[in-house]
């Protein structure tokens, strides 16, 4: 990325930066489609969910809760708990959206973990990166969900291929650049502890929401920041 102009990026820069991450939404869109089809969630429902919810973890949570015999309310709550983070995320990037309310409503739908993380890579949130990369992820996610529902029983158990671990590795790779700062390290460690402590007791999604309180470490007045560019380990 060093050859890119440091001036304001364009939508196509967002598209270009999203492409290296393309295997993730494609593989998981495929496996979501296959899983939803295999569990009786329904092919059309799966594609519509990818097009409207557009948040992988919550979609997988809904399908698995229903498949495990959970209630509709439990499936909805699990997904909403998982997605509640988007309120905070959208507030974080609210100031970068131009235009009127309708345009902001439409473009805000490009917010997804990966596009948000990409857009904040250079110390401030960049609207063209968020929308450009979000558009790529959206097309790949919805399209691969549709293909997945057609493929049907080909991938009987996507997790046998280690896709769940690849998902974790993706989030880890996205987290790494943020963890160069000492306070981010402390907040991340606290969040990991809260999540681990709650997994045995709380319904799916709740540990992640509870872990968000770790960001309150940002209220502390004098952060001890690590020297810029130093490795975070």
């Amino acid at each position: 990325m060093g050859d890119e102009p440091t001036a304001s990026p364009r939508i196509r820069d967002g598209v270009r930066r999203a492409l290296p991450l393309a295997p993730s939404p494609v593989l998981f869109g495929l496996s979501f489609g296959v899983l939803a089809d295999a569990t009786g969630f329904g092919a059309v429902a799966a594609v519509v969910m990818s097009a409207t919810t557009f948040a992988g973890a919550a979609q997988f949570a809904s399908v698995s809760v229903l498949d495990a015999g959970g209630t509709v309310a439990a499936a909805i709550l699990a997904a909403i708990f998982l997605n509640a983070r988007y309120v905070a995320i959208s507030v974080a990037v609210a100031s970068i959206f131009p235009g009127g309310k309708l345009r902001r409503l439409a473009e805000s739908q490009s917010i997804v973990d990966e596009s948000w993380a990409l857009s904040g890579r250079r110390g401030r949130f960049e609207w063209p990166i968020l929308v450009g990369s979000g558009l790529v992820f959206y097309v790949l996610w919805v399209g691969s969900t549709a293909v997945g529902t057609v493929l049907g029983g080909v991938l009987e158990d996507p997790n046998a291929l280690g896709l769940d671990a690849a998902f974790a590795a993706l989030f880890l790779a996205l987290a790494a650049p943020y963890l160069r700062e000492r306070r981010a390290q402390q907040a991340a460690a606290l969040a990991a502890g809260i999540t681990l402590a709650l997994i045995p007791f709380a319904p799916a999604g709740v540990p992640i929401i509870a872990a968000s309180v770790a960001c309150l470490l940002g209220l502390r007045r004098s952060p001890r920041t690590g020297s810029p560019g130093s490795p975070w380990w």
């Binding site: 290296p20 991450l21 295997p23 993730s24 569990t39 009786g40 969910m49 409207t52 919810t53 557009f54 948040a55 919550a58 809904s62 229903l66 509709v72 499936a75 909805i76 997904a79 909403i80 997605n83 983070r85 988007y86 905070a88 995320i89 959208s90 974080a92 609210a94 100031s95 959206f97 309310k101 902001r104 409503l105 473009e107 805000s108 973990d113 993380a117 046998a160 291929l161 280690g162 769940d164 671990a165 690849a166 998902f167 590795a169 993706l170 989030f171 880890l172 790779a173 996205l174 987290a175 990991a192 809260i194 999540t195 681990l196 997994i199 045995p200 540990p207 960001c215 940002g218 209220l219």
Partner: protein, 104 residues
């Protein structure tokens, strides 16, 4: 599974998520957040991403599970420390996890 239950989930979760994502850009607009709130929100990225790593790696059915995923994500962690590309890290995580699941 009753088909209609899937559609209720799709409708409610879809509308809620669209509203969540629009909450900031539509309701708050161009107003900047106060500095302290911004620094709190700034920490949400590492906090949420790490929490997602933990649930994706150790999450089971209401229990902490140590299985092939841990080895896969551990291998990816080393790759990330060595500044491997995200795709390489993901491939390593998937390969190690899949091989271990195949072996046991």
């Amino acid at each position: 599974m009753v088909v209609s239950s899937a559609w209720i989930v799709v409708g409610v979760v879809g509308i809620a998520t669209i509203a969540f994502k629009a909450a900031g850009p539509v309701l708050i607009g161009r107003r900047a957040l106060p500095g302290r709130i911004e620094s709190v929100v700034g920490l949400l990225a590492p906090v949420m991403l790490v929490a997602l790593v933990v649930t994706q790696t150790f999450g089971g059915e209401k229990e902490i599970t140590v299985d092939a995923r841990v080895a896969g994500v551990g291998a990816a962690f080393v790759a990330i420390l060595l500044r491997a590309h995200v795709i390489v890290a993901m491939a390593i995580a998937a390969a190690v996890t899949a091989l271990l699941r195949l072996a046991f």
